[in-house]
Symmetry: C2
Subunit: 610 residues, 2 copies
Amino acid sequence: MRVSRLMLVTLRDDPAEAEISSHKLLLRGGYIRRISSGIYAYLPLLWRVLQKIEGIVRQEMNATGALETLLPQLQPAELWQRSGRWDGYTAGEGIMFHLQDRQERQLGLGPTHEEVITALAADLLRSYRQLPVSLYQIQTKFRDEIRPRFGLMRGREFIMKDAYSFHASEESLKQSYAAMDLAYRRIFARCGLRAVAVEADSGAIGGSASQEFMVTAEAGEDLILTSEDGRYGANQERAVSLPPPAVELQQSPCQELATPGLASIEDLCRVHGFDPTQIVKVLVLVARFAAAPAQPLLVCLRGDQQLNEVKLANAVSARAAEGAGALLEITPISNELLAAEGLAPLPFGSLGPQLDDGVLAGARSWQQRFLRLADTTATDLTGFVCGACRSDQHLVGASWEALLPQPDQRPQSLDLRAAQPGDRCLHAPEQTLLAARGIEVGHIFQLGRKYSQALEATFTNEAGSEEALWMGCYGIGVSRLAQAAVEQHHDEQGICWPTSIAPFEVIVVPANIEDPLQQQLAESLLTELLDAGVDALLDDRSERAGVKFKDADLIGIPWRVVVGRDAANGQIELVQRQGRSTEALAASALLEVLLPRLTTERCGLLGEPA
Amino acid sequence: MRVSRLMLVTLRDDPAEAEISSHKLLLRGGYIRRISSGIYAYLPLLWRVLQKIEGIVRQEMNATGALETLLPQLQPAELWQRSGRWDGYTAGEGIMFHLQDRQERQLGLGPTHEEVITALAADLLRSYRQLPVSLYQIQTKFRDEIRPRFGLMRGREFIMKDAYSFHASEESLKQSYAAMDLAYRRIFARCGLRAVAVEADSGAIGGSASQEFMVTAEAGEDLILTSEDGRYGANQERAVSLPPPAVELQQSPCQELATPGLASIEDLCRVHGFDPTQIVKVLVLVARFAAAPAQPLLVCLRGDQQLNEVKLANAVSARAAEGAGALLEITPISNELLAAEGLAPLPFGSLGPQLDDGVLAGARSWQQRFLRLADTTATDLTGFVCGACRSDQHLVGASWEALLPQPDQRPQSLDLRAAQPGDRCLHAPEQTLLAARGIEVGHIFQLGRKYSQALEATFTNEAGSEEALWMGCYGIGVSRLAQAAVEQHHDEQGICWPTSIAPFEVIVVPANIEDPLQQQLAESLLTELLDAGVDALLDDRSERAGVKFKDADLIGIPWRVVVGRDAANGQIELVQRQGRSTEALAASALLEVLLPRLTTERCGLLGEPA
C-alpha cells in the first residue's frame, strides 16, 4: 500500500471536539470522523486496526469451540417484553433506540442480544446431547447514551463481539465461563493491552456472577480497586472492603441538641466535636418503576460513608413487588417533589432514621410507606448522633432500640456503602485497596436461567425431563478496544500501536522521493517486505521528509524504515516508534533484523510477565 | 469441524412461511431462522457462506484499489434533508426506518450511504491530487419494505457491499465505472453464479447511467428483456423497443360515435372493428410531492401499449417545480378523489386528450392544470379514436391538430411505454426481445454531481478553481446473493452450493460411526483433508447412514466422502453433490483425485464460457 492512495488526511492541531488523548489522536491521525453525536465513520486506517482485532477475537473464540453467527440488529419489542426488559431499556434508562415500522410494530435497535439468542435457542436446542454450545457474533450495536463522549469510548454506535453459551448444568456453565475468562486474557494480551480482570456488577444484563476486563489508563471512566497482592480487584460499583472502625460516642442517655445552621455533617462535627463515624445520616429518595407506583426510600449510612448507587439499585430491584416491572430510576426527594405529591416539606439537614411514614400520608402517586434500608456501618452503631426530624435539632446518644422500639420499624441492614481507596481489604485486613482508572473492554456473565425461564428455552435432560437452559454471555467492545489501545500506547508525538493491531507494521519513508536512488531503494524494500508477509506501507508522497516523519509518528506505525542520503551506500535507518530508538543498517540486512522482532511482537504481550 | 458441534437442525418438511425453493431450503437446511417479518438470524452455516462471499468481494474490490471503510448505520436527518431525499425516504415510499433520539433529533437507519460518504468527502477530499479514490464497506442495511418476502431476497435487514468513487472528471468516473463493471463480473463468476448485466433505471439513487447484474432464475422478481444476439439487455423498468406499427385509420373527418357500455378498449374494438393501435387512451393520475401541491397528470398512450410507471415517475420528477421536493407517489384519479377535492365526477371510459383544465377549477389542494404527457406511439398517430369527454361518446378520426388547436395545449411527447417480450429491438429491428426472470444482485451507477452539489463536496482542480466532485456508486446485495446462489443451484434433494461459497467443501460421512474401522478411517481422512487446506466437515453423529446422506444433500456440500463397509479394504466412495455422480476409489487416492477438482471449482465460473 502507498500513502498517496490511502486518502490520508492528518490534522496538525487538536480538534475542539476531543478531550482525551486517544480521541484527539484518532481524529488527528485520520482514523475517524464524527458524523453525529457519538456516531463515527471508521476511515480506512481504523478499519485495518478493527479487522486485526476482529481476526484475533475470531481465532480465540473459534479455539473455544464457539460458532460464529449473525443476529438481527432490529429486534421485535415482543421478545424484550417477554424478558421484562423493554420498559427499562426504553422508558427507563432509555438507552435502546426504538422505532415503529410501517405496520406500527415496535422494534428496538439491539444494544445486546440475550432475548434474540434465547428465542433461537428455544427453537434449535432440544436435547442435552446438543449441549454445551456457544455462539458469537461481531456486530455494530446501538445505545442512546445520555452523554456520548470520548470518541469511540462511549459512542452511540459501536462494534461489539458478543457470545452466548448454553448448558445443561450450572457446572458446565462455570466451565465455559472459565474458558472464556482465559480466552479473554489471551485476546487482550495478543492485542498488546495490559488489562486486569475485576469483579463487576451485573447491571441490566443480570445473572449471578460477572467479571470485567479493564484496560488500565488515566482517562478510564471506571474506578477500579485492587488489593496490594493482586488477589482482589473490583469495579468500585461492586467493590467491598472493611470500613474504618467507628469512634465510640461517650454521651448517653439520648439528648436533644440545638444545631441551628448546621445542616452538614462537616459543620456538625466542627462545631460540636463529633467524629463523622458517630453520626447516622439519612437520605430520602424515590424509586420509579415501569408498572407500579413510585416507592419512597429511607436510606441510613454512617456519617463518614458514601452511598454506592449501584448497590442501592440492586437492593431496591430485589425487593420490588411482583409485577412492578423494571426499576426505571432512583432520584433524591426534594421539597419540590414533595409539593408535587401534595406533601408537606421535610426538615432536610435534620432527618433521622425515625422519620415517620406519616409524612407520606396522602401522597398522590407514591407508595405511602418508606422502604427502609441501612448500611451495616450504620446499623452496627450502638449510640449515635442523628437528626431529630425537626429543623435545627439533632439527637445525641440515640440508639436503634430507643428510636425505633418495634424491630419491624428498623431498616434492613446490608452493604450499601462505596468502598474507597485506602479501605482495608476483606480477604486480608492488613492490606489496603489501591485505586486505578480503567476502560472496560470486556465483560463476562454467568446469566443462569434468567432469560431461558422468561423465554421458555428448555431442553430435555438425561433423565428425560424438560428444564430451562443454563446460560452465560460474554462481551468485548471491539471499537472501544481500538481506542483503549491508543489511550494506553501513545506519546507526545502520536500513537504507538502494538504491532499485532497496527494498521501497518512497517512504513518505508524515502526522505526525498524525487531522488531516483532513494525512490528505487524504497520501492525494492517495500516489495521485499510485502513478499516476506510484512504488512508494509510506502510513503510515496512528494512531501518534505519532516512532514512524512511527523505523519508516521502521528499515525503510529511500529517500525519506520528511513531511506535517506545513505541510500547511495545501501544504508538505511530503522526507527522503532515506541521509544524512538534508531539504528543504522545495511538495506540488505533489513529482513534479517526486522523479521524476528515482528514475529515476537505479533504475539502481543503473550509470554510477557503480567 | 464436526457436525455434532455445528448446532445443525434440519427440517424434513417445507416450512409454511416459505414460497420459493431457496427460501425453503435455507430454512430446512438450518441456514436461517426468521426473527420478525423480513428479519432473519444468519446461523453458523450461512455465516460461513457469507464470509466466503465477503472474502471474494473484498479481494476484487481491493484489486480495483478501493479502500475498505465502515460508515455509521444511524444517519442524521440533516444530511438527507440537504440532499433532498429525507421526505421521499420517510414520508414518501417510506422505506427508511427512522426514529428520534433522546434529544429529539431525527435519525434514519441507512438503506444507502450517498449522503454520509459525500459529507465525508467534502471534509477529506480537497485537491485533484487525491483523486480518483474509491471507498467501500460491507455492512447491514435496512429497508422498511412494504411486502418483505422470499427470505433474504426482500428483507428488511440485509448485508450490502456498497462502494463510492470520487473523481475530478466525468472521464475518470467512466473509467472507474468500467473497472467496477469488470470487477462485478469477476465477483459473480467467482461465486459460481450465472449473472447478466442489464441497463437499469437509476431510481431513487439517481444519476445519469446505471447497470444491474441479474442472477437468472425462475423465481426472480425482475423481468429482464434481452435481444437474441445478447447485445442488448435491460430491466423492463428501463427497456426500450420498437413498438408494433399502427394500423392506419381510414375514417375521416372526425365524427362522434355513440358507445354505450363500451368503456374498455377491448370492447370498443370488438364492437366497432377498430384495432387497438388506432385508439388513444387517456389516464388521469395525480402526483404527490413533499413540498408542493399535488399535480394532476393527463397521460396519453396508444391503445395497445402499457404505461411504464417508472418512466412516468422519472418524467414527472424531471418536470417538477423548483422546491417541490421529492415525488412521493403517483395514484390514479378516481371519482372519490375528485369528490374529496370538491370536483365533479369525470366520464371515465370516455376521456380524450382534449379534457379541459376546467375540470380542475376550484380543486381544494391540487394544482388546477394538468401536466400533459404522451407516449410517442400516441403522438405519432395522425388520425385516431378517442373518448369524447362525454359519457358513452367517442370520437373517430380525431387528430391532435383538431382536438388541440393550440400547440401549447398538446401533450409533451416522450417514451412512456413498457417494452414487452416479442417487441422488436431498437439496435436491430430484425431481432425481438426475449424475456427472462432475474434476481438483482448488483447495481452500479454513474451519479455525476447530484450529491456533491447538494452537499457542497468540492475539490480544487488543476487550474486552481473549485468544482463539485464527480461520483459513482456500486452496490452488491451480499445476503441476497447467497440466496440467489441457492435459487440457481438446487435440486429436489436440496442445495448444490458452488464450491467457492459452500459452507464446507467436503463432508466425510462414515456410514456407521459405531464401527471402529469406519470411524478411524473417517477421522484420518478428515485430518488429511484439513492438512491439505480443504474446508472439510465430519458427520460424527450416531445417526443412520440414510439420515446423514439426506442431511448432506440438503445442506448441499459439494463433495461427499462416504466411508462404508469397504473401509476394511481401504475403499471409499466419492459423491459429487451436483449431478450426484459416484465413484469408488482407494482412500489413499482421495487427495490426488479431489484436490485438482477443488482447485478448479474454487475459481467459480471464471474461465468458463459465459
